[in-house]
Amino acid sequence: MEKKIRVLIAKPGLDGHDRGAKVVARALRDAGMEVIYMGLHQTPERIVEAAIQEDVDVIGLSLLSGAHMTLFPDVIELLEENDADDIIVLGGGIIPDKDVEGLKEKGVRMVFGPGTPTDEIVEYIEQNVKVAR
């Protein structure tokens, strides 16, 4: 059977809505992927533990709260500690341009700003997972 792409979608931090994350989750599902949806208020520890158990190819984190400079690197560090840094980490939400480069240096593979067409995200994942495998 063809290997399905598995993606974990979570929203770390305290802010209280996940509309954007849900839109992306549905778009990925409609593109034939298996999306493990964790919802709001997730901690880096929970996200990484779930990513390992679910054997996902990609973690998509959506963030509005401004804590991105600590939350994203925490996730990446935990992945490394668990020998799971082959998992691609993507970011979404309102992240100031000046921070994007810094996040990429720390290992976030790509950051999608608000209003990115979901097709673009789907395509990015399909291509990069193929390469990673």
């Binding site: 399905k4 298996e34 493990i36 929970r46 020998d83 799971a84």
Partner: protein, 311 residues
């Protein structure tokens, strides 16, 4: 170390990887499962089924907390439907499993049905085996929850819990018809809502009429899963059921019957792949030619083809 040894050694990543291989029917996976065979058979496998939104995932979360309090380790498989149009799936049961998400003695895996009907995925049974070999004491399987045809869980679990909610009213006859026989324990969840007592009474009356189950009368329990109320009673009932199954020898018979089914399935799969394989294909073509030449009939040709199996 190979994947099987790593699983037996308690490596979570290896467990997750092997599960993916099993789901994808990757080459070589049967050999790994074969290596695990001697390490399975110790878990209590529990199915949780019932309509969408009845609180199955919440109940799984709270039951797991209860089992952890008792010192038991827990594996969870949560099945959700795959879209028949896109092949994708939104697997959302983890949203309700936050309290147990960080416990290293708990392993949670979400599965899409990938076109399989009956409330489970085709390979749910393999994932249960892997968790069993991994050493989990309790394995909870949450089914899709799409309706009345979800009876496949009884072929996988040792104990099946049916989760209902109050206020089914007149629909209860229709809904219950298919599930009365498969439930070992009935849970009326959301007992904070109106009508829980009535729903429990109706279920009770229907179980009275159902004479199939003479040696085990399924208990009907009320819970408020969201607040953890009534959960320890469910765990107790599950334990009672397992003790009953062991003492009466039902468990042994059940496992034996399933082993036979499984063996039959593996044999027919292997014969199928022999037919589809290059050797089989060649011989098939040759036999077809001989039938076309009037030298053979299809019945005798089939016997010739099956000679390697029939001796």
């Amino acid at each position: 170390m190979d994947l099987a040894s790593r699983v037996l050694d308690g490596d979570r990543r290896a467990v997750a990887r092997l599960m993916s291989k099993a789901e994808n029917e990757a080459p070589g996976v049967k050999k790994i499962l074969a290596e695990l065979h001697n390490h399975i058979g110790n878990a209590h496998i529990i199915g949780i089924t019932g309509p969408p939104g009845s609180g199955k995932s919440t109940l799984v979360d709270k039951l797991t907390l209860e089992y952890r309090k008792q010192g038991k380790t827990v594996g969870i498989i949560a099945v959700d439907p795959t879209s028949p149009f896109t092949g994708g799936a939104l697997l959302g049961d983890r949203i309700r499993m936050n309290e147990i998400a960080l416990d290293k003695e708990v392993f949670i895996r979400s599965m899409g049905t990938r076109g399989h009907l009956g409330g489970l995925a085709k390979k749910t049974g393999d994932l249960v085996k892997i968790l069993d070999a991994f050493g989990k004491d309790i394995i909870l399987v949450e089914t899709v929850g799409a309706g009345q045809s979800e009876v496949e869980i009884v072929g996988t679990a040792y104990s099946t819990v049916i989760v209902e909610v109050p206020g089914l009213g007149d629909d209860i006859q229709a809904i219950k018809a298919g599930i009365l026989e498969i439930g070992d324990i009935f849970v009326v969840n959301k007992s904070d809502l109106d009508g829980a007592d009535e729903t429990a009474r109706e279920l009770d009356a229907m179980l009275d009429m159902n004479s199939n189950n003479l040696d085990w009368r399924p208990p009907i329990l009320q819970t408020r899963a969201k607040d953890g109320n009534g959960i320890s009673q469910v765990a107790d009932a599950l334990n009672d059921h397992m003790v009953h199954m062991k003492e009466t020898g039902i468990l042994y018979k059940l496992v034996r019957a399933r082993t036979k089914d499984e063996l039959e399935e593996i044999i027919s799969e292997n014969i199928r792949s022999y037919i589809d394989g290059t050797h089989g294909e060649e011989e098939l073509e040759e036999l077809v030619d001989r039938i076309m030449d009037g030298e053979l009939d299809p019945y005798n040709a089939a016997e010739i083809f099956l000679k390697p199996f029939t001796g």
